[in-house]
Amino acid sequence: MRPENYEAQRQPPSYDYELNIGPNHPGIEGNYAFKLRLNGDRVIAGRADAGYLHRGFEKLMEGRLWIQNLAITPRICVPDPVPMEVSYCLAVEDLCGLVVPERAQWLRVMQLELSRIAAHLFIFGGHAATTGMYTPMFWGIADRDLILDLFEEMTGGRVYHIYNIPGGVRRDLPDGFGERVTNTLDYLESRLPDYDNLLFTNQVFVHRARGCGPISQQQALEWGVTGPNLRATGLKFDVRRDDPYLVYDQLEFEIPTEAPGDAWARALVRRREIKESIRIIRQVVARLPTLAGPIRCPIPNPLAWNVPAGSTYTRVESSKGELAWYVVSDGGERPYRTHVRGPSQMHAVQVLEQLAIGCRIEDVAQIMFSLDACPPEVDR
């Protein structure tokens, strides 16, 4: 900060005052800032302030080999990294015309859905914590750790897996993994009523969350809202079903929707998606033994791999919404341009700013967490 910022200046005669939420604030998700102008406890205007997590991913990727980039793609969204690497791989496969073996596709689905459950468990604890209830956070994160254990066994990494490579996945499942997945899912399913009792049917929580940060379906379409936040307004849209990738068109699952579009609806949609993800994983676990075969297709020497020129736009459904990569190759061994479109780029900036207007300071953090905004996606 410059010295002139500390110099005496005439203060505005306004009765409003300014309050910063973030970057160092428990009411903000990650390293992000939301600057508020308030009167009393009423927000006059909010302004998102990002860039604290900016690393220049897109620039970095232009300087690295196609295969090297795999290592940094998951870092773009920390709580839910798997869709990042999957969609990047999908983009490269699309550019090269690689056909991924079916077993690998099913493995990817399993990984994606486990990641979705983990992300949802993570966020609803955070959502509860913004309203002052910390127990769900403790429980949820401890239960999420069980999924991370599965990841560790499956991929070798707890948070960042780099399990996918263009053309398939790195390695096959260890022995008896399906059983352990089933056990964990059984346990999680047995926990869900506890969460319902503690949080989702807790009258105080319902009271706080209902009517908080409402988005109508019209607004949602206008503002580019995607994912669970869109489904919470009653629109039955899911990239997995409507623009299917991998083998999602062969899977049976519901798309949960809720009508009101407020924080409560968003939390409920996520809660019900956990159930659906469990259902998907069970199908995958049942299906996998029937799918023998390779887990990746042959690819050229990855250290000297010239991907054919062209461009592609691949979309997947992450736990937060629509995630897309626009990848351009000029035929070289490095991407010419990559552009990632994270769902939070809408949710954490424009939607948040819109919803904050006229809401109360109690609800700002709750709105942010109920939107499940992920700041590193904004910053990249």
Binding site: G51, L221, S311, Y313, H339, R341, Q345
Partner: protein, 192 residues
């Protein structure tokens, strides 16, 4: 039903002059259009063909051709198709028209592109700095910005061979990577 709509879209786009349409897959369409016709096309897509969702605007810096390529990815919930509209504008002066009045989300993407590439969008509601508020270098995503040179100029590198590590290495321990084997460290050049 979706198929009928897809066919309808194809016929709609085929009627238009001055654009080049290519269907890359069942749900993907690539459209090339001249820069002055793009807003009209987007207006048409949104208004007539229900492409209400602007998924993203991507910018590519074709430095050799002296052009920026802007790609507008639009999705229709009804037709279930994604149209990527490509257009090119000259790199200098890098000024274009905002589509904010057609798509609200464009505000974010245009702000982002302005920040990263320095493209000015006429009519965009807010092109103030967002991510790089405290940055005073050139727009970093341009191809002519050399990130590594910037890094070497501004940041110090961790000393990989402090004295206490040399002792350890002399006794056969430590993580000895000779400076000339450090592949990605630019310090290797001026290592004494």
């Amino acid at each position: 039903m979706t198929n009928e709509l897809t066919t309808w879209l194809d016929t709609l786009l085929a009627e238009l002059d001055g654009i080049e349409v290519r269907r890359t897959s069942r749900r993907r369409l690539r459209v090339e259009v001249a820069s002055d016709a793009l807003p009209a096309l987007l207006e048409l897509l949104r208004g007539r063909a229900s492409f209400v969702h602007l998924s993203a605007i991507s910018c590519v810096d074709w430095i050799d051709a002296g052009q920026f390529e802007l790609v507008y990815h639009c999705w229709s919930y009804e037709i279930q198709s994604l149209v990527s509209v490509h257009t090119r504008i000259p790199r200098e002066p890098g000024v274009y028209i905002s589509v904010y009045d057609i798509y609200t989300p464009a505000a974010f993407f245009e702000r982002d592109i302005h920040e990263m590439f320095g493209v000015w969008f006429e009519g965009s509601p807010d092109l103030s700095r967002f991510i790089l508020t405290e940055w005073d270098g050139p727009p970093p995503m341009r191809k002519d910005f050399d990130s590594e040179a910037w890094v070497n100029q501004h940041f110090g590198w961790q000393d990989y061979h402090p004295d206490w590590l040399k002792d350890l290495e002399a006794r056969g321990g430590g993580i000895a990577v000779p400076p000339n084997e450090q592949r990605f460290s630019r310090r290797t050049v001026d290592e004494t």
